[in-house]
């Protein structure tokens, strides 16, 4: 499982306050704790006004890279910002994100074409978030056609099928599971990602929903996720699910995570 640590995001109130106060120690601590918990990438999202975004992004990326060796996921709704932040990064990371919307792919794909950078692509386009599986797969086909033009191999692409909240869905997660299954069938090496916590918006006891979603989504092919690596319950669910899916020989990854104190009950 590829874990993209989500904590350094200005839309999280405590992180937003730290950004406003330019509290370097706070950001550094978040980077270190996420890396220690096993994050493969540290997501960095400023979530500030456009005129400040570049400055804040650079400030955040510099702190993270000074604190840990974990690569960065450059997270901005503005594709140009993502592109402009690439030179700040010491090693290839992930652009988070493009979609079928506007000129996002045209901005990002040429820049990462001949690099080791990976990219998250959302299955939305200028019509919004398609309602049916068929329409999302149509967006997917457009993305893959464009990626092919720039020679971006499927294994560098993380497709986010866009998980929507469960409480207003009439068919649970059936549609998104259909999309994930189909994508993985067409491109076995592609990554499928998503923000697990979207599923539980406006419902109580969200952790239960997030974890069960993760298990079902992994069963459908999700192998990358944007989440809080400090959430021991979620991490435990991920390791347990990988073992059950036969992705963890002899359960050694599971046992190791337990032994390192990253999953399971907190030892007193």
């Amino acid at each position: 499982m590829i874990i993209i640590g989500e904590k350094i995001n200005g839309s999280i109130p405590s992180t937003g306050r730290a950004i406003a106060a330019r509290d370097e120690a706070f950001i550094r601590d978040l980077a270190i704790r996420q890396a220690e918990a096993g994050a493969d990438y540290i997501d960095v999202c400023a979530s500030v006004d456009d005129d400040q975004e570049m400055e804040v992004m650079k400030w955040l990326i510099d702190i993270v890279q000074d604190a840990v060796d974990t690569p960065i996921a450059i997270d901005s709704p503005n594709a140009q910002t993502c592109v402009d932040c690439i030179p700040f990064c010491k090693k290839p990371g992930i652009v988070n994100s493009v979609s079928g919307e506007g000129d996002k792919m045209d901005l990002v794909f040429p820049v990462i074409a001949d690099t080791k950078w990976e990219v998250i692509a959302l299955l939305s386009d200028d019509t919004g978030i398609p309602k049916s599986a068929a329409d999302r797969l149509r967006v997917f086909d457009n993305i893959m056609a464009k990626a092919k033009e720039y020679n971006i191999a499927p294994e560098r692409i993380h497709i986010d099928p866009l998980v929507e909240m469960l409480c207003t869905s009439e068919e649970g997660i059936a549609m998104v599971v259909e999309v994930m299954t189909e994508i993985k069938k067409r491109y076995p090496t592609i990554h499928i990602t998503g923000a697990a916590s979207n599923i539980s918006f406006n419902l109580p006891a969200r952790k239960i929903l997030n974890q069960v979603f993760m298990t079902l989504a992994m069963n459908a092919g999700m192998d990358s996720a944007i989440l809080d690596p400090l959430d021991r319950g979620m991490l435990g669910t991920i390791y347990a699910t990988e073992a059950m899916l036969g992705l963890d020989d002899y359960c050694i990854e599971y046992i190791t995570a337990f032994r390192e104190g990253r999953i399971g009950p907190v030892k007193k």
Binding site: Y250, C251, I252, I255
Partner: protein
């Protein structure tokens, strides 16, 4: 770290991909095959068994350690044979008639092998006649290990021992028994020579019954 110690720690950690190479390296350095076997692998499996008994490690960790040792032994075997290094002895092992459980029995087999024995694993649902036949073929075998997992198949332990007695072979071997419902008291009652409650203890018991512990 000496190469033998490196082998031991690789076996202990279950690193089957590196053990073979390390054994070759040790042989190239001129270290005696028997030293590699005893100090590199058997002692590491002893530590693994001890940790398992103390609940410090889990079953899969024992499995991968045994797998790693197997890789090392594969490389070492021709050299051991050339030098005439023999296993400590043979152990006949099987799950008794009517019982199809083999996970525990296999673990016992691995740990006994890890202790330096040659294990003749007869599988599951083994009728008494089969044990007797293999005993006759291997008169040098001094320990027979019988496994039963169910209360309903425990009587087959009794009848297997009885059959061995009737075949006139009881004095040629020590018999050890084990399995979830089996206890020391039951082992005593049916006239077994030993009982162990887990795979690691079974390996120690086999050594004791062979008089090498």
């Amino acid at each position: 770290m000496s190469i033998v110690k490196e082998i031991a720690s690789a076996v202990e950690a279950g690193k089957s991909k590196v053990v073979g190479g390390l054994v070759e390296q040790a042989l190239n350095e001129g270290i005696e095959p028997s030293v590699i076997l005893n100090d590199g692998m058997i002692s590491a499996m002893g530590i693994v068994g001890e940790k398992f008994k103390n609940n410090e490690i889990f079953v899969p960790e024992m499995l991968i350690a045994a797998r790693a040792m197997k890789k090392g032994v594969e490389v070492l075997q021709p050299h051991l044979a050339k030098q005439g290094v023999e296993p400590i002895g043979k152990v006949i092992l099987g799950t008794i008639s009517g019982d199809l459980h083999d996970i525990g029995k296999n673990l016992v087999g691995m740990m006994i092998e890890g202790a330096g024995f040659k294990v003749l694993d007869l599988g599951v649902d083994v009728p008494p006649e089969k044990f007797i036949e293999v005993m006759k073929e291997n008169p040098d075998c001094k320990v027979v290990a019988l496994s039963a997992l169910l209360t309903s198949t425990m009587p087959a332990l009794t009848s297997t021992i009885k059959a061995i007695e009737e075949a006139g072979l009881r004095d040629t071997v020590k018999i050890m028994v084990g399995g979830a419902p089996v206890t020391q008291a039951f082992a005593d009652e049916i006239g077994a020579d030993g009982y162990s409650e887990d795979a690691a203890s079974a390996a120690e018991l086999a050594k004791k019954l062979y008089g090498v512990a």
